[in-house]
Symmetry: C2
Subunit: 374 residues, 2 copies
């Protein structure tokens, strides 16, 4: 069922317009992938997310593993049935969150924050996998390539991800190399587990290698040699946006043009502008909905900070001409009031607008690529 | 425009089915009135509330006075336009919250809680009105019969309430009598202010008199002598449900049968069952939506506590046959998960169900009265 179709290649960049066909429908690319960690986009229900037209949603296996557990989801008929979503879903392996617990996130490391007590939650990392404590009930949980895939089989997303190690940002070359080799072994084991029962799921490899061009190339060459359905770009993307663009510039040519790719955890507007011409197909980020809940509304002319007093009597929608549910019903003045009164409805209406903005933005970007403007 | 029509009087009780006609449509009675303190039902937006069919919504002048302020709402075209509600709205005078600050709520008093520091927020209560400090910015705010009505004119609800004093629960007969006399003077001043510019608004008097039958009767007789459009029953209703029923039993016969009445702040299921046969037309309460946010779902067979582990794998809707948005899309298992993961969407879906339950419950009650079963 899973199939990637390139509809058009830009004449002015590496950007392309494509269609990822899945058993739950098509994902037009390039596209933004909304993050619904716990099986819901925060402050939105699945019907609203579908009516906005978000074609791919990212759920986190780590969270779903601990609550409600993959067995509950499996009994419900998989994530689509459980959360009542008819459109495509992607899940990750759970590794990212576990290694963030072990090493701290890259953002924490860059900002000089310590590991705090989180390191104590991860008890063992070895060839087999990772052993950690549930933050919910303190129980011991083991995450291996095989059981991560088994969990993702129960969740039943359209696209799944093999277990990888997220090494710390500052790592010696020798340790980074060692981590890459182990990640490759874990990804191969994950793929083998997946191929025992593909069940209409596709698996994307995760390209690692940190900031090292040779390791990135090596990762591409190795993972291309295995029958993955697509490629996600993961691991440390550096401290600055320029680092990330450098990595993508030397990594992308080593990925097969006939397969889809995904940039993990990046979705800010500037990155989209810069990465799409390099050929990235999909991006996931919780930023648009998180920004919404903090009162930052996206518009074509930049962000609107809803908390600002200037919005108190602003009887216009967030953006003139916007066709989202929020803009067709409510004014900035009302949204300002809901935020000032800390009303939940404000977070919902804000999230609707920003998500709608991202979906329409990507439509416009695809149109520009079709016209060879990007 | 405002008009009350009695459609049917029960042959077995004082219950009646009626229609309150307003310039924003009809309110069928008996009915439940949802509380949207800040100009929104918590966790719901106005379109959802209308689609559920809630015919009357109660907003609090005290809260709207302090945020966003009546001038902002007036510039938006009134509360209906501001919050995008096309159906009827009722506002109170603001007095209830101010006197709860001064004296503590009756519930606090019954539970033996002290006044804490709230008393310091109210600086003066005299014949003119009340002077208090805004909890938002510490500024001094004066609430008088005239400016409460002026604020309610700017808010533009279909039904408004005169300023009254909410005396403490334990009060000497002399002081209760004095408070009643002052409340009557305040209500008369409020009515006079209102009648300078009725603007299609109706004003309900508030019957006081605490637990004293003679004072309740006196309050009815006096307030009936003034051209109010309806009667709300306020003040202390006692400590026990039986106290409340006693008060209503001796108060209701003193109210005119051809005018609508409202029981302030009461809306639990048991009270509805007991009060409707006494002739109460409308009830407001935040309980159904508050219970929803705490994970208590209403059904014909009693409440479901969503937190209970029994719901973890329950792949049925909250109530079989329920036509609400939540029940037609989601299962108890998913709602249990959303609550466990503390996802905002859970509060919204729960609120939809409980509000829909109340609206359908009242439809059923009206049907029973029409059939002389209640």
């Amino acid at each position: 069922m899973f199939r990637f179709e390139v509809v058009h290649r830009s004449k002015v960049s590496k950007a392309r317009v494509g269609k990822i066909h899945t058993s739950h429908g098509v994902i037009d690319t390039p596209n933004f992938v909304g993050v619904g960690t716990n099986g819901t986009m925060k402050a939105l229900d699945s019907q609203m997310v579908e009516s906005i037209g978000l074609q791919l949603m990212f759920c986190n296996t780590y969270h779903l593993l601990l609550q409600p557990g993959p067995d509950v989801v499996y009994k419900a008929g998989g994530l689509h049935a459980f959360m009542k979503r008819s459109m495509p879903i992607i899940t990750d392996s759970g590794g990212f969150q576990v290694f963030s617990l072990a090493y701290g996130s890259i953002a924490d490391e860059i900002k000089g924050k310590g590991k705090k007590k989180r390191g104590q939650m991860v008890l063992k990392i070895d060839e087999e996998g990772v052993l950690f404590r549930s933050y919910r009930d303190g129980s011991l949980v083991s995450l291996t390539p095989e059981n991560s895939v088994a969990a993702q089989k129960k969740l039943g997303a359209d696209i799944i991800i093999p277990l990888d190690e997220l090494p710390p940002f500052h790592l010696s070359e020798r340790k980074l190399h060692y981590s890459l080799e182990r990640t490759h072994r874990w990804e191969k084991r994950s793929l083998e587990e997946h191929l025992k029962n593909p069940a209409e799921q596709a698996m994307y490899a995760v390209i690692h290698g940190g900031l090292d061009p040779e390791l990135r190339k090596k990762s591409c060459v190795y993972l291309r040699s295995l029958p993955f359905d697509g490629f996600a770009i993961g691991g440390s993307l550096g401290q600055l946006k320029e680092d990330m663009l450098d990595i993508l510039t030397y990594t992308m040519p080593h990925l097969p043009e006939e397969q889809p790719n995904h940039l993990l955890g990046i979705g800010d507007l500037l990155s989209l502008d810069r990465c799409i011409p390099l050929g990235i197909d999909t991006f996931d980020s919780s930023y648009p909905t998180k920004a919404a809940r903090h009162g930052l509304f996206f518009t074509k002319n930049g962000g609107i900070k809803i908390w600002r007093a200037a919005n108190k009597e602003h009887l216009k929608p967030i953006e003139e001409g916007c066709t989202c549910y929020t803009c067709t019903h409510y004014t900035l003045a009302y949204l300002h009031h809901l935020f000032k009164a800390r009303e939940i409805a404000g977070y919902t209406l804000a999230s609707i607008h920003n998500l709608h903005f991202m979906v329409r933005l990507m439509e416009g970007i695809r149109e520009k690529i079709l016209n060879d403007v990007i």
